[in-house]
């Protein structure tokens, strides 16, 4: 046997044992202690931050209400359809799912297959935001086949129940449920609430390991906002504005604002054409949509997409706050306010001589009336919208005062309305305005060569007529939380007193005369029973002139009512109307008149009729449906109405107009006596430009009822300048056609 270990070897073995089993191990245990105990928290923290995934749980977005708590925008739950390929049991299951989902969701089957083959993935969104009925179907499918690989994840979607109503004000939300435009964007933080968080562990490839760890922090629902916008007023405004856009072929869109002059609250704000916030990317204007469709065929993809994007931005734009324009003669309201406040003129007894021009810096600046207005007092100057008189007023006011008032009316800064994208005015510097030549001041005095936004203008005019207080306009009156508790209330805020209460009162009375006097330039805004005041304006788009010839105009009207105690202001601005009749220059006035006529009774303003108005007052159609024809005859006669019976029966089964409709005395009610009787339809004839008698004959002969309006119905030689429904519309026999008359050829101002 070979000898075993020597003493020397034993010694060395013990050294090796010590080095390996004791010393080395001690070092390693020391290392472990250092990493796990001493530095443990540091490493653990870093590890957790890479392992944890925080998934947002979206908070329910707040509602946008109108002033009467009607819902203008709300969110509803929808579902995202998720396939998690990692949980597929096999290729057959994927086939089954792909077949089903591609059919139901109209998704490309190949795409589902392709994504389903990402077997490492737990989260492939096949379609987002599907509605409840689809989600229910998918749920049934999941249950039937006991699938783990298909999931529905809650999401939210924004709904706008009134469609395009106030769309440029409301804006819309993007696919991430964040506000992208309008109030939705401006109040995004308020509406969004605080998203909750679902924390779960994930593996290095990002997939959930939710069986290991999950924690939820519940989201806080967003607050809701209550607007000053009144859905009914907004609807009326949009109806008339839309009609005007169509009738006058308005090229560069039109806008309107209704403001409470005493508080600055916006009751309605509209731009037409606009869009449907439920489908914000769809071009709503059929003409533009058609042009785009044509363009798509002609140009390459990029160019088309660029044009589409521009069209989208154009239809989203809120003209009422974003587009400064030359206010034209409407601005004479403010020049008048300055003149009255400075007492450089008085309503009567202070005469201006208008020879048809005024000489400024050695050059003649023409009046719109070439023959001149002759000798007129201040009230007449406003009524006739006489430019030379206002140039003279400008001179009396002086550049410095003019600039100061301009500033104090809030026209040198944005109004601060709670909407994104508010533009500022474009005006002269004090130095430029005060130039010796006086040209700038002269043209400014009648509202040309500078630009303000519609919201700036109506806010300033409200100040001029409400007793002199410049209000801060606002559109959100309350913020309420998810439980209905009021979080915040907007208090009307006076920025400053610009003119005296006395000047303001005088101005309102003059403005009333502009509308109520038969020779006033604003008479087309007349509303029976109400004291409406206002001022027309036609401004030339000088910056768009071609070779010095102005091609495009802006027609606007700013009305106030009631003028003895102003409460509401309405501004209508039609950008580039393409005039179809000679009354084109005053087309904005009847729109304002129509709006006032409907909103004033709605807003509870009592009408006060004059004797003459009472004579022309409409009667309410009686309720005769269901009764005997003979009874109907008696009731109609009692009210001064005629009847026309259609059919052989004795009992009235239907009547046109329906009961409770205001129609002029002497109108005819069509009575249908047989259920089977087809209602008679007729085409509305065109009566614009006709005399009263001719218009009456045309409409009655067509089987329709006429209702006349305007201020000079009885005058000899009066002609119709506007009608609703418009010519060419197909309506039921007996329908009332409203025709507005005027006695004289309207002036361009």
């Amino acid at each position: 046997m070979v000898r075993g270990t020597s003493n020397k070897m034993r010694l060395r073995l013990n050294i090796v044992i010590f080095l390996m089993a004791v010393a080395a191990m001690a070092v390693l245990i020391g290392r472990l202690f250092y990493i796990q105990i001493y530095e443990g928290e540091k490493w653990q923290g870093r590890a957790i931050s890479q392992q944890m995934r925080a998934m947002q749980i979206s908070a329910e977005r707040g509602v946008i209400y109108d002033t009467n708590m009607k819902t203008l925008a709300a969110s509803a739950t929808v579902w995202d359809v998720i396939v998690s390929p990692a949980q597929l049991k096999g290729p057959e299951e994927l086939e089954l799912i792909a077949d089903y989902l591609s059919e139901l969701l109209e998704v490309d089957r190949e795409k589902i297959i392709e994504r389903g083959q990402r077997t490492y993935s737990y989260y492939e969104v096949i379609k987002s935001k599907v509605e409840k009925d689809i989600a229910d179907e998918i749920n049934a499918f999941i249950l039937k086949h006991r699938l783990n690989s298909v999931n529905l994840v809650e999401n939210t979607r924004r709904y706008y129940p009134y469609g395009s109503l106030a769309s440029t004000v409301l804006g819309f939300t993007g696919s991430d449920n964040n506000g992208a435009y309008g109030l939705e964007a401006y109040y995004n933080k308020t509406l969004s609430g605080l998203p909750g968080v679902r924390t779960s562990a994930k593996n290095a490839k990002g997939a959930d390991m939710d069986f290991l760890y999950e924690q939820r922090f519940e989201p806080q629902p967003g607050n809701s906002i209550v607007l000053t916008i009144d859905e009914a007023v907004q609807h009326i405004v949009e109806k008339h504005l839309e009609a005007a856009v169509v009738e006058h072929n308005v090229e560069a869109r039109a806008c309107a604002i209704v403001m409470d002059v005493n508080t600055g609250a916006i009751l309605a704000m509209a731009t037409k054409p606009d869009f449907d916030p439920n489908e914000p990317r769809v071009i709503a204007d059929p003409h533009v949509a058609e042009q785009l469709a044509q363009l798509k065929l002609e140009v390459d993809e990029n160019e088309y997409l660029k044009a589409l994007g521009e069209a989208q931005f154009a239809q989203w734009r809120n003209k009422a706050i974003s587009d400064p324009y030359e206010p034209g003669s409407v601005f004479k309201i403010l020049t008048s306010a300055m003149a009255l406040d400075l007492e450089v003129t008085k309503p009567t007894g202070n005469y201006f001589y208008c020879p048809g021009f005024h000489v400024v810096a050695g050059r003649r600046k023409a009046c719109w009336k070439a023959a001149g207005h002759g000798s007129i007092d201040f009230t007449q100057a406003v009524k006739f919208s006489c430019n030379p008189a206002f140039m003279m007023l400008g001179e009396r006011i002086g550049a410095e005062n003019f600039y100061t008032y301009f500033d104090r009316f809030g026209l040198l800064s944005t109004t601060g309305i709670e909407l994104p994208g508010e533009a500022d005015s474009i005006f002269y510097s004090m130095d430029l305005l005060g130039k010796k030549s006086g040209e700038e001041l002269a043209s400014s005095a009648f509202g040309q060569t500078f630009k303000v936004t519609p919201i700036q203008l109506i806010t300033a005019v409200s100040a001029a007529v409400n007793g002199g207080n410049l209000m801060e306009p606002y559109i959100v009156k309350q913020v309420i939380d998810a439980n209905g508790n009021v979080v915040e209330t907007t208090q009307p805020s006076v920025r400053r007193q610009v003119i005296s209460a006395e000047s303001s009162k005088t101005l309102a009375e003059i403005l009333h005369k502009v509308v109520s006097d038969p020779d006033g330039s604003g008479r087309y805004a007349y509303v029976p029973g109400y004291r409406v005041g206002g001022k027309t304006g036609t401004s030339e788009k000088i910056d768009q002139s071609v070779d010095g010839v102005v091609k495009e105009r802006i027609s606007s009207f700013l009305g106030i009512a009631p003028s003895d105690d102003p409460q509401y202001a309405v501004l209508v601005m039609l950008d580039e109307p393409h005039l179809q009749n000679i009354y084109g220059s005053i087309i904005a006035a009847p729109v304002v008149g129509n709006i006032f006529k409907e909103i004033l009774p709605y807003l509870g303003v009592e009408p006060h009729y004059t004797e003459k108005e009472l004579q022309n007052l409409d009667v309410s159609t009686p309720q005769v449906t269901g009764g005997l024809v003979s009874d109907a005859q008696r009731q109609a006669t009692a009210k001064g109405l005629k009847i026309r019976v259609v059919g052989e029966g004795d009992t009235v089964v239907r009547q046109v107009p329906a009961s409770g409709q205001p129609i002029p005395r002497g109108s005819t009610i069509i009575l249908y006596t047989q259920e089977t009787e087809q209602s008679t339809t007729v085409t509305v004839p065109n009566v614009v430009g006709m005399s009263g008698a001719a218009a009456n004959a045309a409409i009655v002969n067509a089987g329709l009822n006429i209702k006349v309006g305007g201020i000079d119905i009885d005058s000899v030689g009066s002609v119709a300048y506007s009608q609703t429904p418009y010519a060419g519309t197909v309506v039921e026999a007996g329908t009332v056609v409203t025709v507005l008359f005027t006695s004289t050829t309207p002036e361009a101002d």
Binding site: M1, V2, R3, L13, V27, Q44
Partner: protein, 380 residues
């Protein structure tokens, strides 16, 4: 002689009592190793192999086979290895040459595919071959080993071709391991202290140089840099080390519990292999991982005690070599995982995934047990 009284062995078999303490430690370590392998591997197995049992099922099969082999080999007289030493060494060299012609995996040629079993790492065989060569040599030339000619040169001659071939693969960690085994066996065998002092001095200078300017070593430069600061290259060289530190640090004192590791979810590369100890530390905490290190210390101690008790110098040196191999591998592995030394891919005995490696290891344990039987035999 006393052996005449009762025949307890022959040239082929031994019947003496084996060292049950050593056997117990091996079985306990292997069992813990299998449990931890299952825990560490199932996320990777599920994700990459589609079957959470992919790694563990193979490993268990090899473990069962390995334990049978170990017990069988413990009955075989280790002395039959002595005449087989040179052939084994020869075959090893051939295998190390053969592996260089194998298709590379991840850019290195370390594995020879074998039908049914899987793959064979010639370096695993080489460790054992070297141990046998050194043991044979020392058993004959022990007395002369204090000289340069007998105590240094032959070891160099035996080691050189192996190291040369390993570096061709390349396989740095195996090379380091071979040098370590060689050092321990030379030391125990009787090589003069001076040479170790010289070697230690040279190693110290080398380490200092590398730390000061890591770029000198072309292949290992990045490793040294990330060793000094793993966050210098967090997505590259440093990634594995950082993920390992995240895992170990997350373990704290008591750990996340078995199965509780989060780092094994695809963050920690090689969670079932070289970096399994990081998962162990994360799941069992400082207490658990310290206990496991203590078990390894016990195994090392017990292996060297068996060597010490062996009356036969060849058997003694075989036990020293095998124990040193397991010990160095364990220490290096844990040192790498805890970023105590630069990252070299080295597996943890009884824990890391690798069927043939485990089989080989258990066979070696069988040899140590065979030596322990003989010791018991000689003692009587």
């Amino acid at each position: 002689m006393a052996t005449k009284k009762r025949k307890k062995g022959s040239f082929l078999f031994v019947w003496g009592e084996m060292d049950y303490a050593f056997l117990l430690i091996v079985v306990v370590l292997m069992s813990i190793g299998l449990v931890m392998l299952f825990s560490a591997s199932y996320a990777n197995a599920l994700y990459y192999m589609g079957d959470s049992l992919h790694y563990i099922s193979r490993q268990v099969a090899f473990a069962v086979g390995g334990v049978i082999c170990m017990l069988g080999i413990s009955r075989i007289n280790y002395r039959i290895l002595k005449p087989l030493t040179l052939p084994i060494y020869g075959v090893t060299i051939l295998l190390l040459i053969l592996v260089l012609f194998m298709p590379p995996i991840n850019g290195v040629r370390r594995w020879i595919p074998i039908p049914l079993i899987g793959t064979l790492q010639p370096s695993e065989v080489a460790k054992f071959a070297l141990v046998l060569m050194y043991a044979s040599y020392i058993s004959v030339y022990h007395q002369k080993m204090h000289t340069f000619k007998y105590g240094l040169l032959p070891f160099g001659a035996i080691l050189a071709p192996v190291v040369f071939l390993l570096l061709k693969e390349p396989h740095l960690s195996a090379t380091v391991l071979m040098i370590g085994i060689t050092g321990v066996m030379m030391f125990v065998g009787g090589t003069d202290y001076r040479w170790f002092l010289v070697a230690a001095g040279a190693a110290g200078v080398l380490i200092a140089v590398v730390i000061i300017s890591p770029d000198i070593v072309r292949y290992a430069g990045g490793r040294v840099e990330t060793w000094l600061d793993p966050f210098a290259d967090p997505q590259g060289y440093g990634f594995q080390t950082i993920q390992s530190l995240y895992a170990i640090g997350s373990g704290g004192l008591t750990g996340a519990g078995i199965g509780g590791s989060r780092q094994k979810y695809l963050y920690l590369p090689e969670a079932q292999n070289d970096f399994i100890f990081a998962v162990v530390a994360e799941e069992l905490g400082f207490i658990g991982s310290t206990l496991i290190l203590c078990l390894f210390a016990l195994l090392i101690w017990r292996g060297f005690v068996i060597a010490m008790r062996c009356r036969d110098r060849f058997g003694c040196m075989v036990a020293v070599g095998i124990t040193a191999q397991v010990g160095i591998q364990t220490i290096l592995n844990v040192a790498v995982v805890t970023n105590t030394v630069p990252n070299t891919g080295i597996s943890l005995p009884f824990f890391s995934y690798g069927g043939t490696a485990l089989l080989m290891l258990l066979c070696e344990m069988g040899v140590v047990l065979s030596v322990s039987r003989c010791s018991a035999l000689e003692k009587e």
